[in-house]
């Protein structure tokens, strides 16, 4: 199953590093990363493959939330399906 991780917040050193370390620990593979910084605001989207991860989806989402809290940014994990459904016929 593919997940979409979005990170939004004030830019600072180490956001990507922290998120990637967390994903690596949970055996979640990153398929694609895009990011932009507008007006000091950091926006990042990752497409990740969760097939080989042992952790349950909602647990990963809850833990990412905590990582976000530590970094002072908002991190969301959502199933890719909602975006596919909305934007692809």
């Amino acid at each position: 199953m593919k997940g979409i991780i979005t990170v939004v917040g004030q830019d600072k050193v180490g956001i990507i590093a922290e998120v990637c370390t967390f994903l690596s620990k949970n055996n979640i593979n990153i398929l694609d990363i895009s990011q932009s910084i507008t007006g000091g605001y950091f926006h990042m989207m990752m497409i990740v493959d969760m097939e080989s991860s042992n952790a349950v989806f909602h647990q990963v989402a809850a833990e990412l939330d905590k990582v976000g809290e530590k970094l002072g940014v908002q991190i969301r994990l959502q199933s890719e399906d909602i975006f596919q459904a909305m934007h692809r016929i």
Binding site: I4, T6, H43, I47, F57, A61, Q78, D81, H87
Partner: protein, 452 residues
């Protein structure tokens, strides 16, 4: 693969424009619960509901978390209670309502709909008993919603039932007078009621439906309004295209959630209801869409045209996004649940008569409208009859959810709280329709219903 902008667009809809799935409603047939002993009947009803819906809340929450979209309500609709109760000599309807209330509490749903009767051609003894029991049943329960279908385009209007309901609404108003007559917010009078409506208070599980079904109601007035901000000042063609595209996207989310819920609960998917349902929250209002279209407020000249266009474009966009569309499917205009409507009504710019005109072109009817507590029962019946006639002649669903607020008058307001909001009490035409309502009998079906 999805791209950055698409992800941001979807998440903005959810976070900034209040996009949500308004309800996952499980329809449950109770026909197989019929039993001549009312105690056995009630127990079978309780057991079936709590068995089939035991995982409804957990499943809804899990899906909401996975997709990152709020699923606001999880609800249950049942076969019209008057039909299921046919086998009992005395079904003890008030007690049945309490049983349904307990079942709803047990599984954790906030409303259960279907304490209903279909009486368009006439009332059976059980239909009459159910209607007579409404004031007690709805004032002694919290989560039970009732509806009565009094007319169809095929059958005409049962004016005896219309008269009786006017009286029962008044009684219910008095019984729940200490809470601004909130009991009346749980009773809907219908013409052409749909069998698969997931929205309360009018939801019931039609007799032509399968044993259990998942129906989903999407929403998103805020998303439509936000989309329209980007086409400010442009012509109607652009306006309509924007609404259609937005409705498509909203509906696709509903379809996804419905299919997922159906799979996880192992209950067939029924329909998506394409309604735009407002809440009292700022930015989640149909009236704000009118303002964005260029009207000063809901009720201004042009409102009926704006609503007709909105309703039609939502359907056109939504139809392709779902494999099965049903329910009410259109824009809701409940006064107390839409802050823009409340403000317009408070300023005297949105009247009962204008709302009635608006119901000719949208999905529901006179919804969540507070009127003075001393409005005569026959006047309430007259308002119901007018609304039913609109539905009957135009072959569409219409409904009435009027709240005569006990002990209050024009200039005061009724507070319902939560999603039901608050409503200014609107003036009612004081001319009498007493003699008309007291005639009794039925209004025959219109000529265009004879299609065979």
């Amino acid at each position: 693969m999805v791209n950055f902008h698409e992800v941001i667009e979807t998440n903005r809809m959810i976070q900034e424009a209040n996009l949500d799935v308004r309800t996952i409603t499980m329809g449950i047939s109770l026909l197989d619960c019929a039993h001549s002993d009312y105690k056995v009947f009630h127990q079978k009803v309780y057991d079936k509901i709590t068995r089939l819906a035991q995982n409804l809340i957990a499943t809804g929450d899990e899906i909401g978390n996975r997709f990152g979209i709020p699923i606001v309500n999880k609800r249950i609709s049942i076969t019209p209670a008057a039909i299921c109760a046919s086998a009992c000599d005395d079904p003890h309807f008030p007690e049945l309502a309490k049983t349904l209330d307990r079942a709803a509490k047990e599984v954790g749903v906030n409303f259960i709909g279907g304490f209903s009767a279909l009486v368009q051609n006439g009332m059976t003894k059980k239909d009459q008993m159910l209607i007579e029991s409404l004031p007690e049943a709805l004032s002694t329960t919290e989560r039970v919603c009732a509806s009565v279908n009094v007319g169809t385009s095929r059958s005409g209007i049962n004016m005896d039932a219309v008269r009786l309901l006017g009286e029962k609404i008044k009684e219910l108003s008095e019984r729940t007078g200490d809470q601004d007559s909130i009991g009346c917010a749980k009773l809907v009078v219908f013409c052409n009621a749909p069998d698969d409506n997931p929205f309360m208070a009018g939801a019931f599980h039609g007799v032509g439906e399968t044993d259990a079904v998942i129906n989903v109601g999407v929403s998103g007035p805020g998303v439509v309004k936000t989309a329209l901000q980007s086409v400010r000042g442009q012509n109607f063609e652009v306006l309509c295209e924007t609404i259609k595209k937005t409705a498509f996207k909203i509906t696709r989310v509903g379809q996804l959630v419905a299919q997922e819920a159906s799979k996880q609960l192992n209950v067939p998917f029924g329909i998506i209801d394409l309604s735009l349902a407002p809440t009292p929250a700022i930015g989640d209002s149909i009236a704000e869409i009118f303002q964005e279209m260029g009207l000063e407020c809901a009720g201004a000249p042009g409102t009926t045209a704006a609503l007709a266009m909105l309703n039609d474009q939502v359907k056109k966009g939504g139809l392709m996004a779902s494999s099965f569309v049903g329910g009410l499917s259109g824009a809701f205009i409940p006064v107390s649940e839409d802050h823009g409507m409340i403000e317009a009504a408070e300023a005297g710019l949105l009247t009962l008569e204008k709302l009635e005109a608006m119901t000719c072109v949208c999905s529901v009817g006179l919804d969540m409208i507070a009127v003075p507590g001393d409005t005569p029962a026959t006047t309430i019946s007259g308002i119901i009859a007018d609304e039913m006639a609109i539905g009957m002649i135009n072959s569409k669903t219409t409904a009435v959810r009027l709240i005569p607020v006990y002990g209050k008058g024009v200039g005061e307001k009724a507070e319902f709280g939560g999603l039901l909001g608050y409503a200014p009490i609107m003036p009612v035409n004081p001319a009498s329709c007493h003699d008309f309502i007291m005639r009794g009998g039925r209004i025959p079906a219109p000529v265009h219903s004879y299609k065979n």
